[in-house]
Amino acid sequence: MNELSQLFNTVNIGLVVIDSDLKVRYWNRWMEFYSGISSERIIGVPLFKFFPSLNTPKFLRCCKSVLAFGNFSFFSQKLHHYLFPFRADSSFVSHFEFMQQSCSMGPLRDDATNITSLYLTVQDVTELAVYEHRLLEMNMRDGLTGIYNRRFLEKRLVEEFERHVRYSRNFSVIMFDIDFFKKVNDTYGHQCGDYILKSVSSKIASMIRKTDILARYGGEEFCCLLPETDLASAQILAERFRKSIAEIIHVYQENEVTETISLGVSELSKQYPTPSSLLERADGALYQAKGSGRNQVVALP
């Protein structure tokens, strides 16, 4: 077998050639291995017969563009995830059901330089994708508690705000913080404080819906975005938060620690035309709750 042939069958990359009728003309060993389809079976057969999911406007458009202009088309993992549904290579549980792929397509010409067929390259980028996903997650999460961080909250707030204004939907915000948190730290140490933070955030997180966003806003301050929720419902929810936290008796290194939270609630309305003014209102309500003896909910329309 000549060197090129060997090369095409040993490289860690999928190589496919299809003609202008989109029938497979070449299917290298990498493709055979991951697809479970031998090259004998697939040569001469339309690609879509074995992979009907490829028959999309985008894929066809890319084929036509390469055939008409001789340029190259690229299918990034970020947008397409994969072209060929192959199992991920790793034996261990992967974040993704299918192998994540980065693919490209280009022209092949005959001796008269006419474009007669296309090549496709397929690269396994699952590991990279997992890494990237973790990085993105880390970027939006609070390291200690695992809930969202302030950066993410502010971004989502803008998006949700715009959407709710556009469609005239109800939208509410709860700001709350842990009462006398500094005292906990001073009395029992910062590790205990961390433990309390984690415990409070996971308790509240278990009480919200999938569409709600809970984030750590500051040291002991939290913010909860409630789409499709009016002030009255948000107030009821806030009261439930307050009650459930007040009832917890934390045991930390043989000490019994209890604490309470104060909460401020506000709602989207014409009076608060910007996301930040809405947050300020909730913060103002929280301040009032603090001033009125703590461990309570104040809702300001």
Binding site: T56, P57, K58, R61, K64, S65, L67, A68, F69, G70, N71, F72, S73, F74, S76, K78, L79, S104, G106, R109, T113, L136, M140, F152, K155, R156, E159
Partner: protein, 213 residues
């Protein structure tokens, strides 16, 4: 260095202009027929500049744009250089519907930005491939392309860095206005050829015209 600057004659510029006219006309036709994308490409303007002069030239050309995105793609044949598509900010959003994705995209947070960016890249790739491809075809050359990149995203045009281009290069800058009427998006296409392909270009232009002597 002065002797290094290639002299491109007015006639050569005229021939290049006509070739671009023809190439871009074909490109627009093929984009419409093959891919259902309707773009209008205007009559190109051709300038000869040194690499060092390019950033100022671009800034001047783009002074009416407030925020921009630039898609860059390099092409390599005997005809070699870089293509820059300059879009006004927000063009990505408008163009998303131009490329019907054919299946519902699940939007996680942050992925609208990715979709916009990918749309710019795909449209950029198509447009550059069509224009450069047809030009190369007319000049009897075959080119390969690097993957397209979004170079600057939504930055004010003052932030075109001075080292965006190799300052020693002589560049032929071909500027065309493109317009997607159905989406109300228009921008500029700049083709910047490298120093070493200018000579080849001159020869191939002469060869092209010879058919008509």
């Amino acid at each position: 260095m002065e002797s290094e600057i290639c002299q491109v004659t007015d006639e050569e510029k005229d021939i290049l202009q006509e070739i671009m006219n023809i190439a871009f006309g074909k490109a627009a036709a093929d984009l419409a027929e093959a891919i259902n994308i309707f773009v209008v490409l205007s009559v190109p303007n051709i300038q000869l500049l040194k690499g060092a002069e390019l950033p100022d030239y671009l800034r001047d050309e783009l002074r009416d744009f407030t925020d921009i995105s630039i898609v860059e793609q390099n092409f390599r044949g005997k005809f070699r250089g870089s293509a820059f598509l300059v879009f006004p900010a927000g063009a990505g959003k408008e163009l998303i519907s131009l490329l019907d994705t054919g299946h519902e995209m699940v939007f996680e947070s942050g992925s609208i930005d990715i979709l916009e960016k990918e749309t710019l890249l795909e449209v950029g790739n198509l447009l550059i491939g069509a224009c450069v491809g047809k030009m190369a075809e007319l000049l009897g050359d075959l080119v390969t392309y690097s993957p397209p990149k979004v170079v600057i995203e939504n930055h004010p045009h003052e932030i075109i860095p001075n080292n965006l281009f190799n300052s020693e290069y002589t560049a032929i800058v071909m500027k065309t206005l493109f317009s997607f009427d159905e989406r109300d998006v228009s921008g500029f296409l700049f083709l910047v050829t490298t120093h070493d392909s200018v000579v080849w270009l001159q020869n191939s232009l002469a060869r092209f015209l010879q058919q008509y002597e």
